[in-house]
């Protein structure tokens, strides 16, 4: 199946439609909440939570013996929340730093989860197969009820986000101010963290424990490059996330042997790469262009200032001088000289140059202008 066939099938084929819709919704909700995680410098929290969710899945299977994905995800939610609050406990109560706390919870919970999974596999119970799909995710196992579940949770997230928009925003950018205004910053903090946990848990079935953190981060990191406004960033991140989901599903469906999770992650990474390079205000490409342009301007000014200092010593400012006395050290290149001529600051006569009145004037004002602009 190639990509074209995929797009013609996506509206008719039940499985494809479900998976595409599921990954799109998942991308949107993780992108939306991921923006907050990225801005709160909690990027790696997602990684820790998604790993910490694994024992919850195993334990809820051990208790209920059912493989219903909603029950398992409830377990994941509980153990994800326990992990999150233990991380907090370690950071606030001991002198261990956040990176150690994250790494600890991540590896310890995951190891415990794997122990339970291998223990379950050895149980005499035919029902146990398929739990390991939560490791790397299997979008193919999504059914309509899962997608409905995702849609409902996304709706709730969106509603709460809009309801507490002001509080979230102020907590994000100025926590102390939020406190002095009388907002219960702890409660808001817990609310937003819980929603991040919820979004992660939601994606475990599709993308898996190991790669879930990228779903949270990549769309948000990409969106961050295009805007400085929170609302726009959240919207863009949701959009990027949804597109990564759709494109990732399309690519993995059109090839054999490609699991959806890793492909979605790579598509999201491509979005990040494009944003890093081509974003107009922050991107590396335009930054480099601006850098070169500034350097050229500076060199132009340097040459002009040098000419000015020479011209100053003569009574007639238009007294011709040899071009040879200009050198690289003064920022001189043929290009800068040409530009000065174009700007009508300098006229060339054979192998000599002389400053025009206009050039003299703007050179004498060069530093004044700069200081004026600074003020």
């Amino acid at each position: 199946m190639d990509i074209q066939e995929y797009f013609s099938l996506v509206f008719t084929d039940y499985t494809l439609r479900t998976i595409t819709l599921g990954t799109a919704i998942l991308g949107a909700v993780t992108g939306m909440l991921g923006s907050f995680a990225v801005l709160r410098k909690q990027s790696l929290l997602g990684d820790a939570i998604s790993h910490a969710a694994l024992p919850g899945i195993a334990i809820s299977f051990l208790i209920t013996g059912a493989k219903d994905s909603n029950t398992l995800l409830l377990g994941a939610l509980v153990s994800g929340l326990i992990g999150t609050f233990w991380i907090r406990g370690i950071i606030t109560k001991t002198h261990l730093k956040s990176d150690t706390a994250l790494g600890l919870i991540l590896s310890l919970f995951f190891g415990f989860g794997m122990l339970l999974l291998t223990f379950i596999q050895k149980q005499p119970n035919a029902n146990q197969a398929g739990l390991d799909k939560y490791l790397f995710g299997q979008a193919a196992t999504l059914v309509e009820s899962d997608v409905w579940m995702m849609a409902i949770v996304t709706g709730i997230c969106l509603f709460v986000l809009l309801l507490f928009w002001k509080e979230f925003k102020i907590l994000l950018f100025d926590k102390d101010y939020a406190k002095t205004l009388g907002f219960n910053s702890k409660a808001i903090d817990i609310l937003i963290t819980s929603f991040i946990v919820l979004a992660i848990v939601l994606g475990l079935q599709t993308v898996g424990v190991v790669l879930m953190s990228a779903m949270l981060l990549a769309p948000a990191a990409a969106a961050r490059q295009w805007t400085n406004s929170l609302a726009k960033m959240v919207f863009l991140a949701a959009l990027f996330g949804a597109f990564s989901g759709v494109f990732g599903t399309a690519i993995s469906a059109s090839q054999n042997n490609l699991s959806t999770g890793p492909v979605i992650v790579i598509v999201a990474a491509v979005f990040v790469l494009i944003s890093f390079v081509f974003s107009p205000s922050r991107g590396l490409l335009f930054k480099q262009i601006r850098f070169i342009k500034n350097r050229r301007d500076l060199e132009l000014h340097k040459t002009l200032a040098f000419m000015y200092h020479i011209a100053e010593t003569h009574e007639n400012i238009s007294h011709p001088h040899e071009i040879k006395i200009l050198n690289n050290f003064h920022g001189f290149t043929k290009g800068t000289l040409k530009k000065l001529v174009e700007k009508n600051y300098v006229t060339l006569q054979g192998s000599t140059w002389c400053l025009t009145n206009e050039g003299f004037k703007s050179a004498s004002n060069l530093y004044n202008q700069l200081t004026q602009q600074d003020e």
Partner: protein, 386 residues
């Protein structure tokens, strides 16, 4: 115990020691999450190495994979330097992408490659004794024992040679640089050692357990001591302890050895986290409570000193004046009485000479902004702590 069981335990212990040494420095340098990133992103290196060598235990594969680990670090630092995203986001972006590339490479070549992603993440220690090193037909023991053994020897040699440099650059980067030890070289040296250890250990115990073995023993040791040498020794002891107990736990439960070692590490950390003498959670909560009571006591004594009026010093009045709840005022009052700071005469509280002296000194310290001195003063005056 069969010889295979002994070999497994020796391998697990060696891995624990090899991980604990770089782990201690990673924790101290606040770079614990880098080890997680490395452990995931070596996957493409392993896959490429496997294509070339067709042998999971070849030294070339280990070097290639370790190189991927170092590339991860370089990439993270490059992204961070652009200032487009924060450091933690940079880590979080780089390793899932590299890991995904590895997963896709395995999936696309599933027929030619006997590599299982589960095995990479988890390892299977139980099979380690079956892959033996045979040189001209003579059995020299399990291959992974030799690999992890050589890595451990190199790590220990490097640690002993560069201990001073490592210590200095960990705690005072500026001083290290000004004394002429390049922090960059030490940084990348540590990263290379961590990468090689991760790669060497992943085959036996899996990528996640490597992270656990690096961070958890060091974190637990850090809660117990502030001496670098003691911390190194403690984390090695913790690592080996949980490796061996984890093996027997797995044996009893018939489950993954790696998972069970991690669980043991988790239990160990939990115990230390709760009960560590001065930095454990219980000790911290107890100290916070004690300090709260003692601050209240000081406030109370200051109030007494400021007011001569009997009205102000009546027991019932204190409740409303300082706005404490009943239980709290009783604790504070009892503490003051036990320490001979006050006397209560017909429900009127007054300072004893000792209480007066304490309060005067405390005021001096507060006025001159030397509040920290009060802590030391408490040892001189208090018979009982809050």
């Amino acid at each position: 115990m069969s010889s295979a069981q002994i070999e497994i335990q020796i391998i697990a212990s060696l891995v624990a020691i090899a991980c604990a040494i770089p782990g201690t420095f990673l924790v101290l340098r606040k770079m614990a999450m880098i080890s997680d990133a490395i452990s995931h992103s070596i996957l493409p290196g392993i896959v490429v190495g496997f294509f070339i060598t067709q042998d999971l235990n070849s030294p070339l594969l280990i070097l290639l994979a370790a190189l991927t680990g170092v590339i991860t670090v370089v990439l993270v630092e490059y992204i961070q330097k652009t200032g487009l995203v924060k450091e933690d986001t940079a880590i979080g972006l780089v390793f899932p992408v590299l890991f995904s590339i590895g997963v896709i490479m395995i999936a696309k070549n599933a027929n030619d490659i006997h590599l299982d992603i589960d095995a990479v993440l988890l390892g299977e220690l139980a099979f380690a004794p079956f892959d033996r090193l045979l040189i001209s037909g003579i059995d020299f023991g399990p291959k992974s024992l030799w690999i992890i053994g050589s890595i451990l020897i190199i790590t220990i040699a490097l640690l002993l040679t560069f201990f001073k440099e490592l210590k200095l650059s960990t705690f005072d980067k500026g001083l290290a640089a000004s004394l002429g030890f390049s922090p960059v070289i030490i940084h990348y040296g540590l990263m290379t050692v961590s990468s090689i250890t991760t790669v060497g250990a992943f085959d036996a115990v899996g990528a996640i357990l490597v992270v656990a073995l690096m961070i958890a023993p060091a974190a637990a040791a850090y809660l117990l001591t502030t001496d670098l040498k003691k911390m190194l020794i403690l984390s090695i002891v913790f690592g080996v302890l949980s490796a061996i107990s984890g093996y027997w736990f797995a044996h009893w439960l018939d489950a993954s050895i790696a998972g069970s070692i991690t669980t043991m590490l988790g239990l160990l950390f939990l115990i230390v986290y709760l009960f560590a003498p001065s930095k454990g959670v219980i000790a911290v909560i107890y100290r916070e409570k004690q300090q709260r009571t003692e601050v209240s006591l000081l406030t109370f004594l200051l109030h007494l000193k400021n007011h001569d009026d009997e009205n102000e010093r009546h027991v019932n009045h204190l409740n409303e004046h300082i706005n404490w709840q009943k239980v709290r005022s009783k604790t504070v009052l009892d503490l003051a009485l036990k320490n001979n700071m006050i006397v209560i005469d017909k429900n009127i509280v007054s300072l004893t000479p000792k209480g007066d002296e304490f309060t005067t000194q405390a005021i001096d310290y507060i006025i001159t902004n030397e509040d920290t001195q009060i802590e030391g003063m408490k040892d001189d005056f208090f018979l009982f702590r809050g």
